[in-house]
């Protein structure tokens, strides 16, 4: 277990330094690029809710690919803008949404999860817990609603608990593919996102998406969601 930690951290460090070098180069041209964030826990730390195999693939392959392709798209965008190529700029928008959205969403997702021994699954105390009861009925009702919407989502996408920061109300929303929550409303702040792309659960749960949704709540990091909520609703 410890050895796997060392290996994974080393790999991440190598990835990170490689990307940092690229970032330095790009930064010298004024372009900010992105790198894969470290997970705040080991790949196996969320078992049995989410397997180590899935966590490693999801982080090192899927999220990394979004980061790599996002950076590529941004470089191409910078190029197109410098040349005044309006058509090229417009054509790049879908790649930016896909890959930038993928990077944004997954960065939130890793923070939305936490090992049980670090508080994963513990319901929120304080103002967020209260808001859930007020706006959505109860924690049970929230979970049931998000699970139903996640199960019914066709194709790939996300199910979100969000905060409408204008009305200070909690909402449940879904987005397709890698669309971030803001695509459903500019005033929506993501608190909890659950990835329902098949890659998020297939190796472990196969076609039984509802079981994945039932189990992920055991490792949901309500501490993080509460922090975000309190920051917006002070």
């Amino acid at each position: 277990m410890a050895l796997r930690t060392i290996v994974s951290r080393k790999t991440l460090a190598a990835l990170g330094s490689g990307l940092r070098a690229e970032a330095r180069l790009a930064a010298s041209r004024g372009l900010v690029t992105f790198s894969l964030p470290d997970l705040p826990y080991d790949y196996g730390a969320l078992e049995p809710a989410i397997s180590a195999e899935i966590m490693q693939l999801h982080h090192q392959k899927h999220h990394q690919t979004y980061v790599t392709n996002y950076n590529k798209a941004l470089e191409q965008l910078e190029d197109a803008m410098a040349k005044g190529d309006a058509l090229a700029v417009v054509k790049l928008q879908s790649a930016i949404k896909f890959n930038g959205g993928g990077h944004i969403n997954h960065s939130i997702f890793w923070k939305n999860l936490s090992p049980i021994r670090e508080g994963g699954g513990e319901p929120p105390k304080g103002s967020l817990g209260w808001a859930i009861d007020t706006d959505l009925g109860s924690m049970e009702a929230l979970v049931q609603r998000m699970n139903a919407e996640g199960a019914a989502l066709q194709g790939s996408g996300w199910v979100w608990l969000g905060l409408d920061k204008d009305f200070k109300k909690l909402v449940v929303e879904t987005t397709a593919n890698q669309d971030p929550l803001v695509t459903k409303g500019a005033n929506l702040v993501p608190l909890i996102g659950i990835d329902v792309w098949e890659h998020a659960y297939y190796l472990q749960y196969k076609n039984v998406k509802p079981d994945y949704l039932k189990n992920i709540w055991k490792v949901i990091n309500w501490k993080y969601a509460s922090e975000v909520y309190e920051k917006e609703c002070h």
Binding site: S94, Q154, S156, W197, H199, L203, N207
Partner: protein, 263 residues
Amino acid sequence: MATATATTSSAVPATAFLRRQGANGGANRSLRWARNQHQRWSPRRSGAAVITAKFDLKPPPYPQDALEPHMSQNTMSFHWGKHHRAYVDNLNKQIVGTELQGKSLEDVMIRTYNKGDLLPPFNNAAQVWNHDFFWDSMKPGGGGKPSGELLKAIERDFGSFEKFSEEFRSAAATQFGSGWAWLVYTVNPRPSDGKELLVLKTPNAVNPLVLGYTALLTIDVWEHAYYLDYQNRRPDYISIFMEKLVSWDAVSAKLEVAKSRVA
């Protein structure tokens, strides 16, 4: 004429539709047989004709392990046995007692596509059709190159088989999220270049039929199609599909049918 109303719940109110189809109240035989199969699909037995207003889960035209090692039996047992089966079962539940019951699958698909304003049964109907088509697009010992009229048509419209293959693979690799890549035949040649064969990619359950084309070949790029065997490596899956699985016989037959309709 009743118009199908879009609802967000899965239960369609019977009052929304004109009439009930007289249906065989008994269980659909082929579904019952197919329930416990391991090495083989359960083939439909010939027997008394049963008038059923339900759709069947059709088995692929080869045994479940026939596409090993390129597409594992494990994958087939889930992809056909769970995913495809669920689309069939859920479609039947959705249309029972509605005006869609008793109509052909293509009919249900086109009606529920509703010119792009999708009605709830569309996803299930189209996915039933798409998966039937997908199993037919493959065969044991497949791959290689097409021949005869099909090859001529591909060379005419793409320049070479290699250029077609490149375009098809690229479409499959760049369909973001869930979806399909297709080789299609268009009855009306594309005005810009006179092409009759085109490569398309579609999201989720959308297919060329509802867009007005004739499908010739497809590859499923929903993650469930390749994740057990290839994980995130979709390009590897696509390569193996082209090199080892494509049934060019099936594609040729479909092109012949399409052209004979036009002649």
